[in-house]
Subunit: 414 residues, 2 copies
């Protein structure tokens, strides 16, 4: 049995409205599972080695519900256009490079190395249409200790020839060849504009046959939605996925900025997770998702970097952008929509999004032991701050230097 | 005569729509003044020592047109309220601490040290109502090589007793005692809600008597504007400053989110600079300033961190937030308002805002030699990027590690 105990200032979400703070407390991990937070080490755990992080802050690992690993190389460039042009000009040419395994290996190693230095422990990653490169990504992530899903992208229309597939045969090969244990395959239609009905039908079949989760995009951009309606006979966007069995409680859909009430009702009924991508939504001027409405109506919602629509690979950035976005939504769109709170975005980044992966994102007993140790000793202050203030400051102001250690399922990965 | 030459990849704004890029070129500085950018060192400058920054990128120093030095300690906390509550709950209690010189010295040293690690070379800083602490801030900034203005804040209403002044006598003492050469005093009424007409009148008199610039806030928040109208008999906010001679071409006003056409026309006529504070405007949900309109109508406009409404002391953050804000303004408020471009926000952060301080923010011959050397060698890429792409990426993704060197008026300060 692998057993260890961490000591520090422990912060974890109670419900969406509360961050519980335990100063100088002990976090017990047995075989990768959290046994809870204790003021003193209970007698049954005496003798287990304690790693004392002193005055540092320990938070649950964070879940990035939507990130394009294959776009990492051009993050922070070319933000001066909207989605459809942005795909054409930035995304597709870059993704085309992943037919070259040497390039893919280099790019994915950089992505996975940089991801280690963020608070992310779990992720849903998009690769490209290329099977071998996607397998490489999965191994690169697994080797570094990450858990989650990665997807070989599917496209058979509205994309350059060098990315267009005939059918899902290569995808099925990819599913069969996946040998990683902690990074598992997710069925990944890019979005309806780039997948014909027949491809969607085949993907639904694979999903059922291999019992796989699904990740895709929905209702991100107004022109995209018009395009969907010109391509499909649907009342609303989500129907284009649902009719092929692609919406269920193991589906995560990015964006939902312009989802109608009918679309939201269907997604809630199916148990679909929403990946809120605030930085991306601002960068490529898609709009602002009404997250307050999603939370209040009981939709499952987590946060996402959406690199490279988002530039920041850290979920801390997604948290502060989500706060700003919700403030702007309240101010400019709907004054009845109360802005999100810090507690709520912390919940979304940890326990909220984490529940897509099972019992992760919390330090309650029985949860997977994913933890991030934050060292803010390089942030000088003229006076003493509370742990809550320090946590907020770290979320707003930290960089990779402040990520002192990271554990995934009890294994120290950084 | 102090002479030196820097070599590297040099980027500087042409006009608002262009960033000129000179690969592997030479930047000549004689006595703190830039003599221009050269492909080869001209014969007249032969023999001057060359500092070779290799493949690094050299940009002009940036100007932060509005920053509350006294609020730096609580940046990145307490963002869950609007302006007037935020002042009451966060700003005033913190500013009250600056009556204690020991606290003030510690806080201002941290601020000035951290500012060194940003691209800022010039600034307009708010202190507090305290004379001695303000003098300390000015010395702390000057000692580290900065140029610009700092202001002892004035308040005689709508503030706690511990910050309320009777008159401007202490401010006049402060002006007389200022001995710093490169950090000069600016008359600093907090804003109309906290300054009576009689105080404004006195400040106008000081401004004229000592030939001083002015910095303040205007049209930031809807409740603030209502308060102004309940306190003053004005048609629009700016009149409350203008009637006391406080609006001229040495005035910088932060925000202008809700400025009417009449207000903008008056500010343009007077030559007032607008400090656009996008992160702050989002954080405390003030709204989004229509910066496209300001640029197109020829208003003078620069960027500002507005710490602690803004959390990020770096103008790089202000640049990317300005881009996001303008995209959201276009998307949510006015579809005829084209989003800002990267070129435009680079201009605003350098030459645009820099012109408040004279000939600064450009590498044209005759400009003050303020330069920032950027080292992006820790950002791994799977392929070669252009200098323009690297610059954009640094602006989006860098932190203090990437600020390799900084020069102000020819002096290396970092």
């Amino acid at each position: 049995m692998k057993r260890h105990i961490l000591k520090g200032n422990i912060c974890t979400s109670g419900d969406t409205n509360e961050i519980k703070i335990y100063k100088n407390s002990f976090l017990v991990c047995i075989d990768g599972i959290c046994r809870g937070i204790f003021e003193k080490v209970p007698s049954e755990y005496c003798g287990i080695e304690i790693t004392d992080y002193g005055d540092m802050i320990i938070i649950p690992g964070m879940s990035d519900l939507h990130v394009h690993a294959s776009q990492y190389a051009y993050r922070g460039t070319g933000m001066d256009m909207e989605l459809l042009d942005w795909l054409e000009i930035n995304a597709f040419p870059e993704e085309g490079r992943f037919s070259d395994m040497e390039y893919a290996a280099c790019a994915y190693d950089i992505f996975a190395d940089d991801l280690l230095k963020t608070p992310t422990t779990r992720l849903c990653a998009f690769a490209t249409v290329h099977k071998d490169a996607t397998l490489y990504l999965m191994e690169a992530l697994e080797k570094r200790g990450f858990h989650g899903y990665a997807g070989k992208v599917n496209m058979d229309r509205n994309c350059p020839d060098y990315l267009r597939e005939k059918d899902v045969s290569c995808t099925e090969e990819w599913i069969k060849e996946c040998s990683t244990v902690n990074i598992r395959p997710a069925v990944t239609p890019r979005f309806i504009p780039s997948c014909t009905d027949s491809m969607m039908e085949e993907l639904g079949r694979l999903c059922e046959k291999y019992n796989l989760p699904v990740q895709s995009h929905i209702s991100e951009n107004k022109s995209e939605i018009e395009l969907v309606h010109s391509l499909c006979d649907v009342e609303f966007y989500a129907q284009g996925y649902d009719r092929y069995g692609l919406l269920n409680d193991r589906t995560v859909m990015a964006h939902c900025i312009y989802s109608s009430d009918e679309e939201l009702a269907l997604m809630k009924e199916r148990g679909v997770f929403i990946a809120h991508c605030p930085e991306s939504n601002m960068n490529i001027a898609s709009g602002i998702a009404p997250v307050r409405k999603y939370i209040d109506s009981g939709q499952k919602v987590g946060l996402a970097s959406d690199v490279a629509g988002g530039s920041d690979l850290s979920l801390f950035g997604a948290m502060t952008h989500a706060l700003r976005c919700s403030g702007m939504y309240w101010r400019l769109v709907d004054e009845s929509s109360r802005p999100l709170t810090f507690e709520e975005v912390f919940y979304m980044a940890t326990k909220g999004g984490g529940s897509f992966f099972g019992k992760t994102g919390s330090f309650e007993a029985g949860y997977d032991f994913d933890a991030v140790v934050l060292d803010d000793s390089n942030m000088c202050h003229p006076r003493q701050l509370s742990v809550r203030q320090r946590l907020e400051k770290i979320i707003y102001l930290s960089d990779s230097r402040n990520i002192h250690a990271k554990y995934i399922c009890g294994n120290r990965v950084l």
